[in-house]
Subunit: 88 residues, 10 copies
Amino acid sequence: MVRLETDLPPEMPEAARDDLLAAERRRGEELVRAGTIEHLWRLPGRLANVGVWQAADPDDLHTAIGSLPLWRWMTVRVEALATHPLDP
Amino acid sequence: MVRLETDLPPEMPEAARDDLLAAERRRGEELVRAGTIEHLWRLPGRLANVGVWQAADPDDLHTAIGSLPLWRWMTVRVEALATHPLDP
Amino acid sequence: MVRLETDLPPEMPEAARDDLLAAERRRGEELVRAGTIEHLWRLPGRLANVGVWQAADPDDLHTAIGSLPLWRWMTVRVEALATHPLDP
Amino acid sequence: MVRLETDLPPEMPEAARDDLLAAERRRGEELVRAGTIEHLWRLPGRLANVGVWQAADPDDLHTAIGSLPLWRWMTVRVEALATHPLDP
Amino acid sequence: MVRLETDLPPEMPEAARDDLLAAERRRGEELVRAGTIEHLWRLPGRLANVGVWQAADPDDLHTAIGSLPLWRWMTVRVEALATHPLDP
Amino acid sequence: MVRLETDLPPEMPEAARDDLLAAERRRGEELVRAGTIEHLWRLPGRLANVGVWQAADPDDLHTAIGSLPLWRWMTVRVEALATHPLDP
Amino acid sequence: MVRLETDLPPEMPEAARDDLLAAERRRGEELVRAGTIEHLWRLPGRLANVGVWQAADPDDLHTAIGSLPLWRWMTVRVEALATHPLDP
Amino acid sequence: MVRLETDLPPEMPEAARDDLLAAERRRGEELVRAGTIEHLWRLPGRLANVGVWQAADPDDLHTAIGSLPLWRWMTVRVEALATHPLDP
Amino acid sequence: MVRLETDLPPEMPEAARDDLLAAERRRGEELVRAGTIEHLWRLPGRLANVGVWQAADPDDLHTAIGSLPLWRWMTVRVEALATHPLDP
Amino acid sequence: MVRLETDLPPEMPEAARDDLLAAERRRGEELVRAGTIEHLWRLPGRLANVGVWQAADPDDLHTAIGSLPLWRWMTVRVEALATHPLDP
């Protein structure tokens, strides 16, 4: 489970901010299409999300997270998950 | 998102512990069948899980969590989730 | 704003637990009727609530909270609130 | 329950600060009129408030909070509330 | 500044609890008369207080706090204070 | 009880810093003369203090704290105090 | 990386404690022989260790940690590690 | 630097408590005579101390701390120290 | 065990960032060749690593860590490790 | 016990940084010669130290710490120490 919180400086020019957010969306779509991001939820009220990511190993996960255009502004928290016998 | 961590006293008799865990499993299966528990993962190495629950409102969620046989031994953390436009 | 979290020992006999919870409910109703508790919400999934209490001063507030039958099992957090010009 | 703490840079020019605070007040009034903000209290001594917000779902809540002019300077904490049987 | 929080087990017999609290009050009165406790406030809603204590040195302060009948049930936090030029 | 910690940027020009600190002292003296600040102690080694403030209500307290020239650089923590029967 | 801290009740009879610690050692030796525990260090002064464990997936890791005789007395923290290009 | 906080159950019989504290004192004196404990201060108001210990390596330090009769009731925090060029 | 987290400002020019990271890699290689860094793992998703370092004493460890080109941007946490009898 | 952690901005020009550190060393030497700093240790890997300071009272301690050229960049934590009967 990957928790990403983005902290963009409020005084960043609107155009730069929009460009970054658009690039982030495009990269996110690629990761979804590639099956890397399996589930994604937004934490309401914040520029933050929590997701379930699939990667061959932690190295691939590192590469995938590091490929996000907003990565340098992010606080990242990764938590290993095991399967639960009751999961539908 | 619901995070449940169970803290059973280590000196609880084995039979009582097994009964509780079995009852918990049965109640968990019911909540899965009812669609209340949508996703469930285990936090490896701990008697703990994190899940995505569906409920009509926070009152129903309270009733569902409180119906777990292990509830009295649990630490519970609920976090509201919004949908994310990229969620597959 | 008063945040109350109750930690009853799981092994407390059912009857004693029920008596305590019933006494708590009765005392809570009195505090509501007296106008001491103005608003009250439950924190879903936990034996915990958060409320807005009215008292003449912090001494009265102390007496009111200390009159709860579950007080000895509670963790209490009091936070002073000022009025907000936008409050409806 | 939504807790908002604003951290404006002290060196922000007075006029910019006043404009932001005025815009925030106007948007707050709209959210009150729309019934989104049901209760609002100030945390004394801080540029911070805690409120009870009503929204159809967490997505609407996200949109409402994100519409605040001060949002980019805010730390936001959302906590789901269930109704309490004793609430007046 | 000394912050004392007492955590008496809820199941302690009423008489033992009353005796302890009475002994604590008597010892507290002695420390007030001796000028050791200069100011004392209660933290509303909790069996806790915060006070300003005067002692020749930290060793005397240790002896004074350790003489409280409730000391074994207390969490203690000591914070050194300097005088402030504006203090009335 | 009000705890104020000031965080001035180290690179602030000396004159600006001196002006701010002098203005703060003057406003502090007014609050002491008005009886708003009853007790004040410095936390040794830090640009921080802890004090006991008197105000008609939390709104007045908010206004008083917000009137400090250093307020925008401060972290503020307010804690409600009740009277203690043993206070001299 | 797995961090294990054991909290045995001080009043546990010496023989029971010795048996548990001996069983723990035997199970630890098996996990070392099986290659599950790759590295293990003790945190000095505490009944705690930190280790690097190898498992096919988080489910296997969960089973391995849960097989420790002291598991019920442990606080467990698992942290995913990626390989570092500089690791010798 | 070693920080030791002891948490003896308040209901421990006085004789057992006295025996433990006397044994602790004797073992402490041995560690002082052996040069293992170089400096020792009490944290006022608490059954806690902070000290500078000398040991050949962390293994010896672990053995020394673990030899304290109160060890099973202690919370231990070890922090490595380097020499400072200004130390007298 | 040494935990290093680097916090480079996102707006640092790409060339400066690349130079720093390249210098860091070279210095890291030297520390590996010198046997100072024994093990090194990356914390996935973050510009952070955790490693086992060997040094004659804490002074040498201080010098080694302080020689990293990224040191001024790092948060460093050092934790003493003892050998564990089960370590392979 | 005084714990000082310095956080100099990484982009500070080398000469300014060197000047500050040299001034800090000179002032530290004076405080050592005056007997104010009795013991001083470096926290390895960080621009931080922990020391035992002697002062007539907390006001003098405040003045001494505040006289450090790096004070404005420091996080300071003061902890009162009592003598321990076992201290050599």
